[in-house]
């Protein structure tokens, strides 16, 4: 993984000390809240319902065992012994106390971590495919470009006061596991007919109150040109993005207003100007230097078939079920990728205790895993496992309540913290996720339903990605009462689409029944192995509406 150089290390340490001074001045009355708020937000510190919330950046979702252990330690020492992994691959601690936050930042800096770019109108923490470096369909590790973009964007003076926040995601495969189509900029690593790798660039995707799927603005940007190209997009946005209305300030609104063709023209014009000046060419040597940090571990020459692994699947049904959904093909023979579900039935999606973090770090050491990944679907991933180790690993995960076999199934629900924690929320999401998961807990039934992604947001800001759920649920406040709308037909993958609201919402007692009715309608109508999403795309909303709103 990437290691800080002396400048990075000094910078994050200095930032922690700067913030210590700022907190002291706030508590001494030298700074008002209006003056202090932008400073705390620059360090990922929000005021939420019950306390301060610290949002810790996990660049491209990669953590070492040392870092994960430290996160567990910080959550226990300063917070309430757990953290919440988010759809932006970050970790949130919801019970932080202002005087202790500088110490938390110092502790984070010790393991090359920080809270930079987790708030404010800047380029936010870059997210990437959680199977990076391991996926069998990968062209190139997306974290190399993500790290380059991180170094380029951190404290970039031209892009520190954008009209609004700016989110970038990178995928190294045709399969989109990073939701690139719903980011301000989505980058897909592609290979052309000459066998060269380059970048396909999308702009103007996003969720929130006005959701859009991104538009392609570059079909094949040469590697050396990518910073110039991204800078061209940022310049068009910085110049023309609206600053008069916070709800219309994201780049997606600009793209929608001027049209994708005009956006493309403006980006190309700006790109040409930057390119002619020759200022922003990415040197091959620098790219190689950064790539070296993401070199995969030394793989053993293993056979595709592991007899131990095959035997364990035949003799242990629970393990076989876990393998079915949570184990994925690796690019090296004899290896596999494993998803560690943070969605045990009835628990809070994405939550992980300090004990679990520390135990996982120990397992990483025991099974020779230098890295663990955080997914935007609020799970964790061990990317480079020997197949022969999977059974032993799973038994240990299961003992930690981390062995749930539900990845991609109906109980693998994305949920924002909602009104249980969040200052912006209008309705709770966690309790709805828990209730739905309990209803569908039967694993046989989950397998029968196949891939089915439910995503829940407690307000229109859509941190729970409800627009791109196969079933999306949006919590709203209806005359002081929590009410839930159902959307169908969304996808955040390579077949990206936005879900459509079916009709009037349901109260908190009725929403799980409504989801059951949607699923029942699907099972009646589906052809063969169709997913709910496929059935919906084929038949449209009418039969679902009929069933849901039948009198």
């Amino acid at each position: 993984m990437y290691r800080y150089d002396e400048f990075d290390a000094l910078f994050v340490r200095e930032r922690a000390e700067q913030f210590r001074g700022q907190v002291a001045r706030r508590l001494a009355g030298e700074l008002t809240e209006d003056e202090f708020k932008p400073l705390r937000l620059m360090n990922g510190l929000y005021l939420q319902l019950h306390s301060y919330m610290l949002r810790i950046a996990i660049p491209y979702g990669t953590l070492s065992a040392r870092q994960l252990r430290k996160l567990g330690y910080i959550a226990r020492k300063y917070d309430r012994g757990y953290g919440h992994f988010t759809t932006r691959q970050n970790l949130q601690l919801h019970w932080s106390q202002l005087p202790q936050v500088p110490d938390m930042l110092v502790d984070l800096a010790e393991v090359e971590m920080h809270c930079l770019q987790t708030s404010g109108n800047c380029v936010r923490n870059i997210s990437a495919d959680h199977f990076a470096g391991a996926a069998d369909d990968e062209i190139e590790d997306p974290r190399i470009l993500s790290e380059i973009l991180r170094q380029w964007s951190t404290l970039h003076p031209e892009f520190s006061f954008l009209p609004r926040k700016f989110k970038i995601a990178v995928s190294g495969s045709a399969a989109d596991r990073a939701a690139i189509m719903v980011h301000d900029i989505g980058i897909q690593i592609v290979r052309n007919n000459q066998g060269e790798t380059g970048y396909r660039v999308f702009v103007g995707g996003g969720l929130g109150r006005t959701p859009f799927i991104g538009h392609e603005v570059g079909s094949f940007v040469a590697k050396a040109d990518i910073l110039a190209f991204v800078e061209a997009i940022m310049r068009v946005y910085n110049e023309s993005g609206r600053r008069d209305n916070i709800h219309k300030a994201r780049i997606k609104i600009l793209v929608h207003q001027i049209g994708a063709d005009e956006m493309r023209k403006r980006v190309e014009r700006e790109f040409e100007e930057i390119r002619q000046s020759g200022a922003l060419q990415l040197p091959e040597q620098e790219m190689q230097r950064i790539a070296a940090y993401f070199r995969p571990p030394d793989f053993e020459g293993l056979s595709h078939i592991s007899p131990e692994f095959e035997h364990a699947q035949k003799t242990d049904v629970a393990f076989a079920n876990w393998v079915k959904t949570n184990v994925h093909p690796h690019r090296m023979p004899g290896y596999a990728i494993a998803t560690i579900s943070l969605k045990p039935i009835g628990q809070t999606p994405g939550d992980c205790s300090s004990d679990q973090m520390e135990a996982l770090a120990d397992l990483m050491d025991e099974f020779g895993q230098p890295e663990i990944r955080v997914t935007h679907e609020q799970n964790l991933v061990l990317p480079h496992l020997r197949k022969r180790d999977l059974f032993a690993l799973w038994r240990k995960l299961d003992a930690l309540e981390l062995g749930t076999a539900n990845h991609g199934l109906v109980t693998d629900i994305i949920s924002c913290p909602g009104l249980d924690y969040c200052d912006l929320a209008n309705a709770r999401s966690i309790n709805i996720a828990q209730e739905i998961a309990r209803r569908f807990a039967d694993l046989q039934r989950q397998h029968d339903l196949g891939e089915l992604k439910i995503k829940i947001s407690g307000c229109i800001n859509a941190c729970g990605h409800h627009h791109v759920g196969h079933i999306g649920i949006l919590g709203v406040d209806r005359k002081g009462v929590e009410n839930y709308q159902i959307l169908l037909g969304g996808s955040g993958a390579e077949d990206a689409s936005l879900g459509e609201i079916l009709g009037p919402g349901f109260d908190s007692e009725g929403i799980a029944d409504a989801v059951e009715n949607v699923v029942a309608t699907y099972t009646q109508l589906r052809h063969g192995g169709e997913r709910l999403l496929d059935t919906y795309r084929r038949v449209g909303p009418a039969p679902f509406k009929e069933r849901l709103y039948a009198r």
Binding site: R26, L27, G29, E33, L47, L49, H50, S51, Y52, R80, W95, S96, Q97, L98, P99, T348, L419, D420, Y421, A425, A427, R428, I430, N431, Q434, D477, G480, V481, E482
Partner: protein, 97 residues
């Protein structure tokens, strides 16, 4: 119009607190002072603003309540959750006291 309660978070530790003219900022909703609707705004502008200036609290605002059998019941779920703690974690927040 409904009676109201003045609330905020402690500047330092972030904890949810409520205003009571006799006791100052208190931790529990049942200790809060229920303010008649026509007086509430004055308390916000007086004690509320002063407490922010004195750096006791941050994010001060009023919310609506009903008084039922002597207990204070917030109109909105948001305030029920702030008063108790996360409904998804009964072991956390004031509900765990």
């Amino acid at each position: 119009m409904m009676p109201q309660v003045l609330t905020a978070n402690r500047l330092s530790v972030g904890e949810v607190v409520y205003w009571n003219a006799a006791k100052g900022w208190v931790r529990h909703l049942h200790e809060a002072e229920v303010l008649a609707d026509d007086k509430a705004e004055d308390v916000l502008k007086g004690a509320g603003v002063r407490s922010v200036q004195e750096r006791q609290v941050v994010g001060v605002y009023l919310f609506e309540v009903r008084v039922k059998d002597g207990s204070i019941v917030p109109v909105k779920t948001r305030e029920t959750i702030r008063a108790a703690g996360p409904s998804a974690r009964r072991d956390l927040g004031k509900q765990a006291d």
